[in-house]
């Protein structure tokens, strides 16, 4: 499968806080950096 892969960087501390609050929104607000690679092969 090919398509855009998006990446983001977040701190583990923010992930932990979000998990404790069960809030995906909190994670989105804590994203430090975002980028994407076009037409990459997914390798899951």
């Amino acid at each position: 499968m090919r398509g855009n892969i998006r990446y983001e960087i977040i701190t583990a501390q923010a992930i932990t806080r979000a998990e404790s609050k069960q809030s995906g929104n909190f994670i989105r607000k804590s994203i430090i950096k975002k980028w994407s690679l076009k037409n990459k092969q997914f390798r899951n």
Binding site: G3, Y7, E8, T16, N44
Partner: protein
């Protein structure tokens, strides 16, 4: 979320896999606020999974009265390498250190890890010559 990657990182350095140990170690660092961990997350339409991380430990200088950082761990999942993820993680760490008033980020890597050495040197890390003014001593206390 990071423990699985941390366990794989330790396995890369020929340690036995121990996910519980990895979980406990990471949890302790986070609870005690003893390190900063940046996590790279891959998002596709179906998935959102962690694919890499870097962990920074603080290093204090009494003479300079400042805090610098040791980039102690860097790991990217095998299937996601060669995509710039490691470089993004390192640059994020450098930006973090700069914003916090640090003077430098330092790291060590295996003498035969040429891939890592190339990455670090492309970013601008300079290999340090043995210090002429200070000897480094080490003793086992365990």
């Amino acid at each position: 979320m990071v423990a699985d990657l941390f366990d794989k990182y330790r396995v890369f350095y020929e340690q036995p896999s121990d996910l519980e140990l990895a979980r406990n170690f990471i949890r302790t660092r986070l609870v005690k606020n003893e390190s900063i961990i940046f996590v790279a997350i891959m998002q596709s339409s179906e998935n959102r999974i962690p694919v890499g991380f870097t962990q920074l430990y603080p290093k204090y200088s009494s003479v300079r009265t400042m805090q610098n950082w040791i980039l102690n761990d860097l790991f990217v999942e095998k299937n996601y390498r060669k995509q710039g993820i490691g470089e993004h993680l390192i640059r994020t760490a450098m930006e973090f250190a700069q914003k916090n008033g640090s003077q430098f980020v330092e790291l060590s890597t295996a003498v035969d890890n040429f891939t890592a050495q190339g990455l670090y040197e492309n970013i601008g890390f300079e290999k340090q010559e043995p210090d002429l003014n200070f000897f480094k001593y080490k003793i086992n206390v365990s």
